[in-house]
């Protein structure tokens, strides 16, 4: 008895040690860059100064840029909601034809970089030379009625399209967890189909939708993708592009950039604050543990309208962009329309095997993202294992902190933190940013799987004499394996897409694929298109693997 007691105490000590070490490392990795950039915002050449904020106030265009940022982020949030929520509802709750295929297609935009989407739509809609522009004007469509692809409206629309999968996934998950009798009882008690949809379904899932909206809002405040691809050319600067310009153009103004960073965090924080204000501590527990096989709504003739709605989204977000990129990539140079005599495979060959920067970038992306995903998953396993009882809320907060920091600001922070260290200008600094910036993704997936594994399984191993480490190794890890795989793949995909933070961290030699998009942007559209096709192909391949694995998981879990 004594021996057992002693062993359990030692176990508790190892467990605590591992947890606190990991927690300390993680807090340092998050809090150090944050404090360094606050420091940068309030100092000038080592002395306390409010000069940065002063220059923000005096700047001729920053005021307008703040308004643009707010407009862009709020617009994209609403847009993504109006696209994602109906799609989710149609696919998961109605008898729309071909929904199994539609369900897969609707998630594909998550695996396409928004930068890629924006460039593709640029190729389609650019004044005069755009593929679609030409076709439309040939049919007699007046040029002045064509959408201006560089306008703030286009930025919002394209951002909405490529971030709507977040709303889609949040909504689908939330709808799946809802007990369908909540809706049925409303029907029985006199509410029609649409009244039930509004008063019950949407109202009940409101909190989940709001969390999704806040996520899109914060992402949009910090994104450089659409603002770089469309905004700069159209003269629509947002805070992220302004910060990037201040950091990369000569003469640099680090203090002002850091001050603007704080401003961007405040804007993003406003979104989170509004969410808290609306929700308070309300959480609608509609989950009763089981997955529901909700009965689908019979749309009648409207099925085809629903089908057409989903299909047009898929065409706009997936088919048209990918098609135009493939076509452009197969041309010697882009002349505004596909010409057979310009057909060539040279672009694909050169970006893969010949052209130095692109070849290097593919390798850097694969190595950097794999390494970062591995580290993030490894740490998630350790933390979720040790944090399942203790320090839960502390970890939850720490892990979620980077979500509240807009991507571009986060890149800048990491730069401030490591500018005088040996890892500056290496791939390591990018890996660091990847891990810290997206750690929460891996952590969330693994933690939720961890919570579904009963403590008793582990406790019984401990009772039967296994140490903490042994029971982790023999009981927990095998059970977590599917979760580990999907977390790794998910993180990998998001990292390969990541653009906004690495734009601050790459140097000659450490370019990753998304950075090369930017470098090639104004130079060689055919080669750029080919390169984008390659990146998208890699991401879609990972998606296929991911779906295979999660499909198999759902089977094992059902057993």
């Amino acid at each position: 008895m004594l021996a057992l007691g002693q062993r359990l105490r030692t176990n508790v000590r190892t467990e605590r040690l591992v947890f606190w070490t990991a927690a300390a490392l993680l807090s340092f990795a998050i809090l150090y860059p944050a404090s360094m950039s606050v420091y940068a915002a309030f100092t000038d050449k080592g002395a306390f100064s409010l000069g940065g904020f002063e220059r923000v106030l005096r700047h001729p265009s920053v005021g307008k840029e703040i308004v643009t940022t707010l407009l862009f982020a709020a617009g994209a949030t609403l847009g993504a909601t109006f696209i994602g929520v109906p799609l989710a509802w149609i696919n998961s709750r109605t008898d729309v034809p071909g929904r199994q295929l539609l369900e897969i297609l609707c998630v594909i935009p998550l695996f396409i970089s928004a930068f890629v989407g924006a460039m593709a739509w640029r190729l389609l809609l650019v004044p005069r030379a755009g593929m679609l522009t030409k076709v439309l004007t040939d049919w007699g469509w007046p040029p002045e009625l064509l959408p201006d692809v560089y306008s703030i409206t286009s930025m919002i629309v394209i951002q909405s399209i490529f971030y709507s999968p977040f709303m889609y996934l949040y909504t689908v998950a939330s709808l799946r967890q809802m007990d369908p009798s909540l809706e049925e009882v409303a029907r029985i008690h006199g509410a029609g189909q649409w009244q039930t949809l509004w008063r019950i379904t949407l109202s009940l899932n409101g909190p989940a939708l709001l969390s999704g909206m806040v996520l899109v809002f914060v992402f949009t405040v910090g994104t450089l993708e659409i603002p770089m691809a469309l905004g700069v050319a159209g003269g629509n600067y947002v805070l992220a592009t302004r910060i990037w310009t201040l950091m990369s153009n000569y003469p640099q103004d680090l203090t002002m950039a850091a001050s603007l960073g704080i401003l961007a965090i405040l804007i993003a924080g406003t979104g989170l604050w509004i969410q808290r204000r609306i929700l308070g501590d309300r959480k609608f527990t509609t989950v009763s543990g089981k997955g529901y096989r909700a009965r689908r709504i019979n749309l009648g003739r409207w099925r085809w309208v629903a089908f057409g709605t989903v299909l047009s989204y898929v065409i706009i977000a997936v088919i048209a962009p990918l098609l135009v990129l493939v076509l452009v990539g197969l041309q010697k140079y882009w002349a505004g329309a596909f010409k057979l005599d310009l057909f060539t495979l040279d672009n694909f060959r050169s970006v893969m095997f010949e052209y130095d920067v692109t070849r290097r970038a593919i390798l850097n992306s694969l190595i950097g993202c794999s390494a970062a995903a591995t580290i993030a998953v490894f740490m998630s396993v350790i933390l979720s294992q040790t944090a399942s009882r203790r320090g839960e809320s502390l970890m939850g907060l720490l892990v979620l902190l980077p979500i509240a920091i807009p991507g571009a600001v986060f890149g800048m922070m990491v730069l401030f933190a490591f500018v005088r260290t040996p890892i500056y200008n290496t791939l390591y600094i990018i890996i660091f940013a990847y891990v810290i910036g997206y750690f929460y993704l891996a952590y969330r997936t693994i933690h939720s799987v961890r919570l579904s594994i009963h403590d008793e399984l582990e406790q019984s191993a401990r009772i039967h004499g296994a140490t903490w480490w042994k029971s982790t190794q023999k009981i927990l890890l095998p059970l977590l394996k599917p979760g580990i795989f999907s977390a790794w793949l998910m993180t990998f995909v998001v990292l390969v897409r990541e653009f906004s933070s690495v734009m601050f961290l790459y140097r000659n030699g450490t370019e990753v694929m998304s950075v090369v998009f930017f470098l090639l942007m104004e130079r060689h559209s055919a080669r750029l298109a080919a390169f984008m096709v390659i990146q998208t192909a890699i991401l879609l391949l990972v998606m296929v693997i991911f779906q295979r694995i999660s499909y198999r998981n759902s089977e094992t879990i059902a057993v």
Binding site: S181, R187, H189, G190, Q195
Partner: protein, 368 residues
């Protein structure tokens, strides 16, 4: 007089399987009909068809002399147009509304005025003995309270028919019994017509004016709790309602002086055979029959009683003290029997005993 609820020739298919296969029944006004059966027997699907939550493949449903479903004529009234109330298995209390808002919902949908809504909500909450909880958040309530909110919501708009889909199955045993009596009281109090689905036979017998036993999509038998227990017409009903020993035999003679009694020989002709004089439901000499013997219709004797018929001998296989009674498993020449003796009785394993069967209760059914 036309029945208040009438279901005729109802059929419903999931994939290739007919889960409801030609079901017809009627419910009188103010009556509570229980649909009873094992899981997957089609009782819930039948209820959902009545409520309009499922579209049947065939059949018609009439409520208060109005057709709500008639497949042949392509008529299908949406659930909200049928004027019903429902209590679901999971209570289905809307967590984003207060108790008051939950109960007021059916009235709001009927566009009642605010003052009449308020009066009727409070009246309904009083009926379910939840008078003071109106402003509470619905999710703060206990399971039993949520169940009562669901009931208040179902009755507040004075529905034509009240549907219950296993409403008590999520409650713990003690609460379930209390709720059973409350439900019955309330249904009588407001005199509402109700259809109640359950797989729990004790619940069904306590609640139902009439019970309808279903199995594999079909109706097995309809009747009062007493008639289902004492006069089951099918093997399934005999086995599903209460416990029963099923003893195979053959009718050897009809005893006309004893009403509809028959003499059944059990076992091969010869020394090992015994004879049972029991009630018959439409069997005649030479028929293979199954005799239904309830465990409490048997008296256990140590000495063989002086009777020509109705004695089966055997050895005690196992003896289990259950408080109010002792359950004895007896190995006989024909089958293993389960019988109940007084709680104080004990029997050694392996001892020979003689069971006196009460022939005025046991029934012979045609063998399946």
């Amino acid at each position: 007089m036309a029945k208040f609820v009438a279901v005729r020739g109802l059929r419903k298919r999931y994939g290739d399987a007919w889960v409801v296969d030609d079901v017809s029944f009627e419910v009188e006004e103010g009556e509570l009909l229980v649909l009873l059966g094992p899981s997957g027997c089609g009782k819930t699907t039948t209820l959902r068809c009545v409520g309009g939550l499922e579209r049947p493949e065939e059949g018609e449903i009439i409520i208060d002399s109005e057709e709500v479903t008639n497949v042949a004529r392509g008529l299908f009234l949406q659930p909200e147009a049928r004027g019903m109330g429902m209590v679901a298995q999971s209570y289905a209390i809307w967590p984003h509304m207060s108790v008051y808002e939950n109960v007021a919902f059916p009235l709001k949908m009927r566009r009642e005025s605010n003052s009449s809504i308020s009066d009727r909500v409070h009246e309904a909450l009083d009926v379910v003995r939840l008078g003071e909880l109106g402003e509470r958040n619905a999710t703060d309530l206990s399971g039993g309270q949520q169940q009562r909110v669901a009931l208040a919501r179902a009755i507040v708009a004075r529905p034509k028919v009240l549907l219950f889909d296993e409403p008590l199955s999520n409650l713990d045993a003690k609460l379930r019994e209390d709720m059973r009596y409350l439900l019955k009281d309330i249904q009588r109090e407001i005199k509402v017509t109700a259809v109640y689905v359950t797989h729990d036979q004790a619940e069904a017998m306590a609640l139902g004016d009439e019970l309808l036993v279903m199995n594999a999509g079909k109706i097995e038998q309809r009747g009062s709790a007493r008639s289902l227990y004492c006069e089951p017409t099918t093997h399934f009903v005999a086995g599903f309602i209460g416990s029963a020993n099923l003893i195979d035999g053959m009718v050897v003679s009809e005893e006309s002086e004893n009403g509809n009694a028959v003499l059944v020989r059990v076992g091969e002709e010869g020394a090992s055979a015994c004879s049972l004089q029991v009630l018959s439901l439409g069997t005649s000499v030479g028929d293979a029959v199954t005799v239904i013997v309830r465990p409490e219709w048997v008296k256990i004797n140590q000495e063989k009683p002086e009777m020509r018929h109705n004695v089966i001998s055997g050895t005690v296989h196992k003896c289990q003290y259950l408080g109010d009674r002792t359950e004895v498993l007896v190995n006989t020449d024909y089958t293993q029997m389960r019988v109940w003796a007084d709680g104080a009785a004990t029997f050694e394993n392996g001892v020979t005993i003689h069971m006196e069967i009460d022939g005025s209760k046991c029934i012979a059914l045609p063998a399946s």
